[in-house]
Symmetry: C2
Subunit: 457 residues, 2 copies
């Protein structure tokens, strides 16, 4: 008795073991017993063979559900390593939004093949949807919506809702739309108004006429502003001819903005090419990290060449070698604070790329204050250590001056990069440290050269 229950426990505790049983209902029971976070982690920890086997064993709609939950966490890798037919089967069970999200991330060849498995109108729709820029209303909209023709009465709409209830329950329905025969958007129906209206009224009587709508090419930035202005759950998307194409939800816009913020954090830390997960193959992870590091090492060599120019000075006051890395690191820290504030204000739309002078003023004042404080700290430490006032002066004044440079330049560099069309998150750090290192080394070593007799004395 005891042995049996223990044996069961051991099997039940590990997903790989359960997959080996090939018992679909047992696998489904195990997965539905996990929290979503644990589910994603359990799937991520499987090897490729186990993952493919798992998705084969599950019914396509369960697989689609599973892919939704682990969205972005290697769900694309999973689809890529799946046989084409299986992938297409799972795709059919997904809402369009998720289909588009995954197709976008797939290699073009794989995406084309999967789209090819769909029947003609659906395939055409998918091709159109992935053609919209990712961060535009077209790329963010849900292409399914409730639309009723302008000739209908309230009771026709209610009948339709009753009949199609099951189909519609998959939709995100906060509003229904009234369209002309040509598909132009005429008005918005609120469920509440439908509820309260006499059933024999035409829908055109109770709809909100001339409703808020956005063009399919509206940018993410403008969408964010729109939903800040209007506290709506969603907004209809139309083409230039006012034809209704879909609905963009406020929640989708928030997600997209959120995704961007996360990318900024990763890019600033030197993770390029999208999110990195530890379940990705070693080569992919290491080469993506190296792409950023190898540019950095070149920039570092350029910056350090300033030191090489002053080898004579260094030889006579070797103690300076202790302070060079400190000045390099501290200037980098001060500058990066200013970079972060600028990137954040750019993202929030609180500063425009052309407001260089305002940022310069705001940052240089901080640079002066913080430079003075840090310069006195480091200069004081140098003075205490060697008892040489001139060493303290060289080191302290250099750090103070370089903090001013770093903070001022750090505040401006994201704006400059944005203006020339480069990515501030990815390029600000390397650019900043190169400049501040060169300046910092130059300040210390040229100042030291001038005071050399006092330093080596």
């Amino acid at each position: 008795m005891q042995d049996l229950s223990q044996g069961e426990e051991v099997i039940e505790k590990s997903l790989p073991n359960i997959i080996e049983t090939e018992d679909t209902s047992q696998i489904e029971a195990f997965l539905s017993g996990l929290k979503p976070g644990d589910e994603a982690r359990a799937v991520a920890e499987l090897n490729k063979g186990q993952q493919t086997r798992l998705l084969e064993l599950l019914a396509p709609e369960k697989s689609a559900e599973l892919l939704r939950k682990i969205a972005g966490r290697g769900s694309v890798d999973l689809v890529e390593q799946m046989p084409l037919e299986q992938a297409a089967g799972i795709f059919e069970q997904m809402p369009s939004r998720q289909q588009v999200d995954i197709l976008r991330e797939l290699k073009e060849k794989d995406a084309k093949q999967i789209i090819g498995e769909f029947s003609q109108p659906k395939a055409e729709e998918l091709r159109q949807l992935i053609a919209y820029p990712e961060d535009s209303a077209g790329g963010l909209m849900i292409p399914e919506y409730l639309a009723f023709s302008s000739g209908m009465l309230v009771k026709d709409v209610l009948d339709d809702l009753r009949e199609q209830g099951e189909v519609y329950s998959d939709y995100v329905i906060q509003y229904a739309y009234v369209v002309s025969e040509g598909g132009e958007l005429l008005g918005v129906l609120r469920l509440r108004d439908l509820l309260l209206a006499p059933t024999n009224k035409p829908v055109t009587d109770i709809m909100i006429k001339d409703p808020q709508k956005i063009r399919v090419d509206t940018t993410l930035r403008d969408l964010r502003e729109f939903f800040k202005q209007y506290n709506y759950l969603g907004v209809p998307v139309v083409n230039s001819g006012d034809r209704l194409l879909g609905v963009v939800l406020s929640a989708t816009v928030k997600d997209a903005v959120n995704k961007r913020s996360n990318q900024i954090f990763l890019k600033v830390s030197g993770i390029v090419g999208g999110e990195e997960f530890r379940t990705m193959p070693l080569f992919k992870r290491s080469s993506r990290r190296l792409s950023w590091l190898s540019i950095n090492i070149l920039l570092n060599i350029v910056a350090a060449s300033v030191i090489a120019l002053y080898q004579d000075t260094l030889e006579k006051a070797i103690v300076l070698a202790v302070f060079l890395p400190i000045i390099s690191d501290m200037s980098g820290c001060s500058g990066n604070q200013a970079v972060a504030v600028s990137i954040r204000e750019l993202t929030l739309g609180l500063v425009r790329a052309k407001e260089l002078l305002r940022v310069l003023f705001k940052e240089s004042t901080i640079g002066i204050v913080n430079g003075l404080v840090l310069g006195m700290l480091l200069g004081g430490a140098a003075l205490l250590w060697k008892g040489n006032l001139y060493l303290g002066l060289v080191v302290g004044v250099s750090l103070a001056a370089n903090t001013l440079v770093a903070v001022s330049f750090g505040g401006m560099v994201p704006l400059i990069l944005r203006r020339i069309g480069a990515d501030p998150a990815l390029a600000s750090g390397p650019l900043l440290t190169t400049i501040t290192d060169m300046c910092g080394f130059f300040f210390v070593l040229s100042f030291a050269s001038a005071l050399l007799p006092k330093l080596s004395g």
Copy 2:
């Protein structure tokens, strides 16, 4: 004619000028003509006096609206500098959610005074709401919801909706709830079902019984998992006695997660104490930045002390001074990439704080690959520059070894900090660079000491 229109334009183009006219309708017209982003920026650019004057001139509900749009961007500062009575007047016009958000950020004294201006039951409600932890269901819920008693018929509900339509239109109503006389949650009414049901049915017949609900002390992490599991717009919040207290919306949870991610980015960059905007006073900005910098400078001095121990070696091979900052900076870059991946995986719940060994394995392999590549690059550069094979070896091997240390340690340090209850975003960077600097300096200089005759030869 021409002069007149030009004159008008100049006045209309600047918010400060319009405030000086003290013409409320003109101010409102100007503000409503701006995009929300521009509105926030225009208000932020005013000085304190102008801001206070602006909110005095606007009707309280317009002021409340304005504060909503510039939420988080100094809206708290604005309230703090306002006379108490004015602040209370504006507060009355806000939905509870916004009241609570601002009260939380205010100094305790100011918050108490504003709450004191409200009548007793409302004041008591606010006190209870701000007592819930910010990142819990209680702290995130909306305390207004539609609830109907279990004895009502569908037509009673419809009548009530019709009568109170105006009041309810301010609520976020996706669902209505059915509660017992004691306030216990019994079921959820979907608007769609109300629409389709015979009007003389009791609401208990058409409600969803035993609905999903969450306890008021549910954490943000569990809320995120809940909404990943269930694709709902919101979920009712109950206390331990199953009494309905409010509704948490999926969108609110997403916002809160988003806010956390943004804080992580800023903290990693050394911005402590919440978001920094350039409109904040100089002293506040500079002292918050300094609090983090001054710890860094101490850590830097500790790390650089390793160099001081090897002054003799440096004196004999001064060229090494060129490479010390490079090794320090490159190890920091490599390590920070690993830190970023770990912080991200911790935030997403993809790694647990105790999985140190798994992370160590995953990172050390990258450390070896990237260390070899970077070591060869830097070693090669040193060899080319000085034509000394041993210099290339010292520098290259040191960078390779230190990259391994930095990447492995960088991957683990956020997990370690999380385990001991410290904030990984704030502390990982300084801790990492101190350790990698010390190691890196030690590798280069001890290795160089061993090969000294070959280096200076």
